[in-house]
Symmetry: D2
Subunit: 366 residues, 4 copies
């Protein structure tokens, strides 16, 4: 598996640097016959686009998706879908101090340690713009899942110390933070104002709930659905923790309070609770999948910070320009994208788990 | 990548069911020339062996590791190492009610949904005994890392509501829970006694600290070192959350408090804090790697539970036999094993990240 | 993908050395519900067993297959199937001159160059006994394909200069060489007698014909079905060439003679010829798949050979003991096994090539 | 591994259709610090460009390579290199009869069988233009190998019945066919003239010789270097056979004539012959690697052919437009590219085969 690739049957390979010519993704293994347009992808990209509120960077990027292959007459053909987004806001700039200094909280130092060379312009490959490729791929995965009745509800659960206390899905699109709680969103706004005044930044928690997922996805050992989701979501820059279902809280519960029982109603087996977050033994159980990701505060803050230059001198660094005081709202669609990609892959892989459907597919007698 | 395989260069494939003939692992890609004996593996297996304290299941298994291939005259040969552990405690038993009922908190239901058939004896493939293969492989990975000066300190951070408040590494092996805090271990014992009286069980948190890890391991996007660790550890049955560095706490910090600065001392660049847990932008930064895993309470409890039979009847289930009231202590070595496997793979992969070492290796002029 | 693994969904990992404790394979991803017994595997192993005619090595190995996991009550469970064959003929021996010399035509030298250490006993990992794992896995793949009506006819096409001139499938099992031509088999026997008198050995060509393969298997670019078959078969030790359909002969034909036309009979589309060998653009076309493998002569010959010791001295080597004067007959089942594994994997992968069957499988409305 | 991806550490993913917007490749895992320019890639693309002689299609494509990512200030950065070639010759055309008929020798039928939809314009994904991505990637791999002193000599060995009888490397670039034998090239030209008069086409054999390959590349079982080369080269459309060293001829030799002995000269071990083609037991032995690929005749011929429409009617098809009467010369660089990609990957993978170099790399004491 390539280092910049994810998935086994529905595979995504991303490429591109923040201030290079373009960024993009190659989505391979997408089933043929799926209706797909650039608008489907654009809708996802627009959810992570900068410049949409006073809490996100003012960098203006059209971030327009162009499909270069794999779609013919409005439908996928089964061949690789190449999506490209040109970088348009490439004003020539003085990147001088970023080029020769190691920003706290950033990957400058580790890239230099690993590769000995670094495209320092805007963070290069380690920039948040890398998520454009994931989001384009996520849009395609979500389009596929939509055909199967799988629906996502992804939102901000907290920003800094401000958590939601109510859940009104219809509120999610009504505030700058994708929070399902208008009062919490207002408090989050006030909190961020204070952070900005202090030239500081904030983190938060994103929650993703997925309904309509059939039972049976995922594999018993290393390919557990929760393990793959954990890799997928932890691979998003700035994510520092992933929880499934009760998550960290499970550690303080007892078996009697954490176990999900089953009951039968009209011949249908259902769970009586969902502490597990929709996954048992690594395999989806048909109930809602619940996942949370902790996002660290934006590392680029405008107050002076102590650090070193790449030649090893102690320096005080000031990062200029406007940066998101919080990236959580823009990361909501990225978390959703990674979950969608993971599920699309698991759905396809699961089709050959039993002999009988294989015989059905190939027309053999059962 | 096979569903029961993990890793790209240092790969592990596990197999086996709880009450089948044997369990094992095939470790492929282990470098040639590593001194390795069955004792190296046995030491790890003994750390997860049942029957060692009153808080673990009384099932007696020798769990003796047998190396079947890949080692010659005491050293690895570079070819696959096959390790097998025979199941010896296979008394014929009445598994009746497990065979036809869905235990709360277990994978019985999802296995049936996925495969339509299930080796119900002792949980089959979804049993905790599956971790024998991981642990054997982890022992080999750890043996390799030891040669490079990489050291693990893995321990129980909390059991139920009882957390450590002090850290004395020398205490870890002195109590039944692998806790680095004797007082906390005593409280944890008392807490578990109460759980057992109530026919209930508990979970906990395991922490893994790894020192001596060179900078540069991991890849920028989907192959981030933290993402791979997250998959590795979340793939352990019963783990419901994985944190790196500050983990969930990062979400409530500010950039100014979460950012790790750098300083230069005598020409050496060091971090002035380690909120990131040793990984920046998905690449190790040379400081201590810190990871935590939340383990849910043992689902097998002896009090009656409401559930359904596989034919869809509502039933009250009583699970007989002795089960661990907490699996956290036995899972400590499993978490360490998965981290070791992940690092071994990342170490090998990183060797070709730059042109110059490739030229050195092959004797080309630089 | 591990170095000793093959396949993406139906994956095979083999392990073991010629004179180690055992050899085996882990077959992961085999669909659940397939009836499978040790006898199914034994039948395949017996086809490659030594000591069956005067033209194969006299080494006596029971080569008994033991299934250690993944099968429950006579059916596969979807979890990894571990198959082991114990090495029984491990008389302690003087391997001295093999240990310190490089046999012509063998891998002694390259193993030393790569690993710096080598299990020299009987060739270790580079021995033909390595194919035991492949053959056990092939038996399982073939058992799966049988359920879908896919049938193999694999045989010896030539031994040394003696080629078949007629094709009578019923003859294949009636002679020592698995040749479908009794007269050719007799000539081959005479030819081998002469080789043995001269202390020399012979090679040959194996042909595999597969019927009942549905159209649609394989992927357009790197995952072409013929490319995967080529890797699979070329990975068998001693195979030096792989041909599909017309093979090398295609290079001297013209488009007008090599192109396979189509015709329609009673509404069914069929090919009017099969120069392509059943694969067009890397995808199976529903007609017979035809593949040939060239097998080099057994490198172990009893006449003295000039070579070097591992310390770099020119020596004359005499290889003692009895060796197969030709390995072609025993390799027939190995070629069949590798083709079966490749097809099983391709069959499973192909199920998610289109949207509509995915919707059918998951019960979504089309 | 994605279906359109190849390689494990040095990975290539290609995308694009013949008459879509563009074609390209993402090359991931290329070591950082390699000097690389668009000219390096263009040189390879120019070797496969159409319109260069009267024996290749007149289609005019600039086929200009654009590097979109992964290169900074003239050197690779270790991140994915995205290369794109825009399709410029996209005159709107009447593809009518290709859209609804199955061309003999083409993949139209199998694509429809697999996907139910097909980008029929110019063959879509199954077009020879797909090799643009491979060739761009091959150029990068070859640039890497060049740094290590590995050199390729790839040429046409035969066209139709005309084979080279002499080998003068300096002739290769002097004739339209990349043949190392001027007289054979002239005969090949005459032969092709006759084919063209008959509205027919020809195939041929390409040979690739690689010098400077260090011993030790490749892995013992499924990852044998020859097996990976076989997959790589057989995955090129129109290739029907792959030979290593003696190839098919090995089947008629004896052990005494096929075995390569060793000798020691001034303390250096060398082979006394090279029947194996530079690979023993799947591992390179340091001598020249020799590989041949049989290329079938161009399936598009202008004489009428009997076939069927996609709706199942028997039809006579005439393919208009100019097509290469032979694709062998343009495929020479594609074979070289696939071999270069395979070797680059094997070189990187081999660096971790032994413990000692790992210790050296990470500065541990040996």
């Amino acid at each position: 598996m390539g280092k910049s690739s994810f998935g086994n049957l529905f595979t995504v390979t991303t490429w591109g640097e923040s201030h290079g010519k373009a960024l993009g993704a190659v989505i391979d293994g997408c089933p043929a016959g799926l209706p797909l347009s650039e608008e489907d992808i654009q809708k996802f990209l627009d959810r992570r686009k900068p410049g949409q509120s006073r809490y996100t960077t003012a960098r203006k990027e059209g971030d327009l998706a162009e499909i270069l292959s794999g779609v013919f007459e409005g439908k996928t053909t089964g061949t690789p879908i190449s999506v490209m987004v040109r970088n348009t806001d490439q004003r020539s700039r003085d990147y001088g101090n970023i080029a020769v200094s190691y920003r706290p909280g950033h990957a400058d130092y580790t890239f230099d340690q690993k590769y000995g060379i670094r495209d320092y312009r805007g963070g290069g490959r380690s920039s948040g713009r890398e998520t454009i490729g994931r989001t384009a791929a996520g849009a395609i995965a979500a389009r596929l899942l939509e055909e199967l009745g799988i629906r996502f509800c992804t939102y901000t659960r907290s920003i800094g110390p401000v958590s939601i206390t109510e859940f009104h899905p219809e509120e999610i699109l009504k505030n700058d933070f994708y929070m399902p709680d208008a009062a919490a969103a207002e408090k989050a706004g006030s909190y961020l104002e204070k952070c900005m005044q202090k030239k500081d930044s904030a983190g938060g928690v994103i929650e993703c709930r997925i309904t309509g997922v059939p039972a049976g996805l995922g594999d018993p050992v290393f390919g557990k659905l929760d393990a793959l989701l954990a890799q997928a979501v932890m691979s998003i820059g700035a994510v520092k923790a992933v929880e499934i279902g009760d998550g960290m809280q499970a550690a303080v519960l007892n078996g009697s309070t954490d176990n999900d029982g089953f009951c039968s109603q009209n011949g249908t087996i259902q769970k009586t609770s969902n502490h597990a977050g929709g996954i048992m033994g690594g395999i989806s159980d048909g109930s809602e999948i619940i996942l949370r990701a902790a996002v660290k505060p934006t590392p680029s803050i405008s107050r002076p910070q102590e650090t070193v230059s790449s030649s090893g001198e102690n320096i005080t660094l000031e990062i200029h320009g406007r940066h998101d005081p919080v990236i959580v709202p823009r990361a909501v669609v990225v978390v959703e994208s990674m979950c969608a990609i993971t599920l699309a892959d698991a759905l396809m892989s699961n089709m050959s788990a039993r002999l009988d459907p294989i015989k059905d597919f190939y027309g053999a007698l059962r």
